[in-house]
């Protein structure tokens, strides 16, 4: 009989790598999202152009191509990255480009009247953004950010193609060593789903906490 418990350990190691990638990728994506999202709303043409180029480039080329590029081509031009770094970079930049549009959309969804109230109260541009617009926009962004994070989680499976020992990769290993296809793949599908549920649950509770008082219910 195959040593399933040992192989389960392997898969759990893979799960750790997947979680690590998801977390680090999300952080990078969040940073890029705000930089590029606010960049697109900037008054300065150069910033707008930079942000637009970044967003269109990373949304336009497939995550695969980006991953292979980061892994195989960047070193040729002198940029050495570990597989993990390459994975985080590609995932973070890719999802960040999508999330940047969420940031921009959310900021724009905060009605003109809130901007006007800021002007009427003589708040500076940054003050208005910091204290009035972004806190409200963030709430609008949250649900979509949750979806973005799940997309990122799913995209991590692709890093198995560049030899990062994530869940999918370990499932492949287990499959090669045990000759069983069904068990490892079914196991990781369930694990991915649980991780996705955790993300959406986390985002929802964060959303609930932040939305307190905004709906007129007693805080």
């Amino acid at each position: 009989m195959t040593q399933w418990s040992g192989y389960l350990g392997l898969i759990l190691q893979g799960a750790l790598v997947t979680i690590e990638l998801t977390l680090m990728g999300s952080v990078l994506a969040l940073i890029m999202a705000f930089l590029a999202g606010m960049g697109r709303l900037s008054r300065f043409f150069v910033l707008r152009a930079l942000a637009t180029a970044y967003i269109e480039f990373f949304r336009g080329t497939s995550i695969f191509v980006q991953l292979f590029f980061a892994y195989f081509v960047l070193p040729l031009i002198g940029l050495e990255l570990t597989p993990l770094q390459a994975g985080v970079l590609a995932l973070g930049l890719n999802v960040g480009a999508y999330a940047a549009e969420v940031v921009r959309g959310a900021v724009q969804s905060i009605g003109r009247e809130q901007h006007e109230a800021c002007i009427a109260l003589n708040l500076g541009r940054w003050q208005g953004l910091r204290h009035v617009i972004l806190p409200q926009a963030f709430l609008v962004m949250l649900p979509t950010f949750g979806n973005n994070a799940i997309e990122l989680l799913k995209a991590t499976s692709v890093v198995s193609l560049i030899s990062l020992a994530d869940l999918t990769f370990q499932a492949q290993v287990v499959r090669a060593q045990t000759g069983n296809t069904m068990v490892p793949f079914a196991t990781i599908l369930v694990i991915y789903f649980i991780l996705a549920l955790l993300i959406s649950w986390g985002v929802r509770s964060l959303e609930r906490r932040m939305a307190r008082g905004l709906d007129g219910v007693r805080v």
Partner: protein, 261 residues
């Protein structure tokens, strides 16, 4: 005798090809209470928004207390105002909007203290003390910790007024502050306006469809039509004996629609 606090000189404003204001001029004296009335789309909101620097003008000049609003004098030359100049001029002006525009993520008192703390560096304690006085004046002191979503329209509007007052502007602009309210709630907001009128010496510009209130409240009424002031005068003159045909027509319609004058 004294100099006008607002001097609008032949300003024009277009949205695209559509000319909203066309060579409009007017003057407002300190402490004056002005009612702006007129049909929908005549440019009443636009002139308030221009005074609040929410829209730019295409031509003409505006002076507040003798200082240019949209221009800066540098070595005798008039240059377009920069953001710093606008920020300084805005200190003199406050505005209350038709839809209140409260900050929904901040409690009532935070709505009122935010601007003084950020723009004037008022310490929190002082800002809250002043805010409570203002909330007390508009009858909202007991709701200081509530969130805007928990308030009725009339209550929201009273908070919005307190918020605008917190910056101690010399000029207050009110744009149809009651027209989004349920009829029964209108009174509480109008009462606050009466109180403001009695207890402060601010200059007030008021766009309204409440003809009765405009009549009782204003020192002077301006009737707008198609971006021009068609008629102006004491409330009694305008409402009882309008000279212009357009004014007569407008008032007739409004009265037919069931509004008391």
């Amino acid at each position: 005798m004294s100099a006008p606090i607002i001097k609008v000189d032949a300003i024009s404003k277009s949205f695209g090809a559509f000319k909203v204001l066309d060579g409009l001029s007017m003057q407002v004296m300190p402490r004056e209470k002005l009612a702006l009335i007129g049909p929908s789309g005549s440019g009443k909101t636009t002139i308030l928004r221009i005074l609040m620097t929410l829209e730019r003008i295409d031509g003409g000049h505006i002076q507040i207390e003798g200082e240019h609003l949209y221009h800066m004098e540098r070595n005798g030359q008039l240059l377009p105002a920069d953001e710093r100049h606008l920020a300084r001029m805005r200190q003199k002006i406050g505005m209350v909007f038709q839809l209140f525009n409260l900050f929904p993520h901040k409690s009532v008192i935070d709505n009122v203290t935010l601007a003084p703390m950020l723009t004037k560096g008022t310490p929190r304690a002082a800002a809250e003390k002043r805010a409570m006085e203002l909330l007390d004046m508009v009858g909202m002191a007991d709701k200081a910790r509530a969130m805007p979503a928990q308030l009725s329209g009339g209550q929201k509007q009273r908070v919005a007024i307190a918020r605008a007052l917190a910056l101690q502007p010399k000029i207050m602009l009110f744009d149809e502050v009651t027209s989004a309210l349920d009829p029964e709630l209108v009174e509480e907001v109008l009462n606050v306006l009466w109180r403001l009128c009695a207890e402060t010496d601010m200059t007030m510009l008021l766009v309204t469809h409440e003809m009765g209130f405009a009549h009782d409240f204003a020192d002077r009424v301006l009737f707008f039509d198609r971006g021009k002031i068609v008629e102006e005068g004491k409330p009694d003159e305008i409402f009882r004996h309008p000279k212009q045909e357009r004014t007569q027509g407008f008032l007739k319609k409004i009265i037919a629609a069931g509004h008391r004058v």
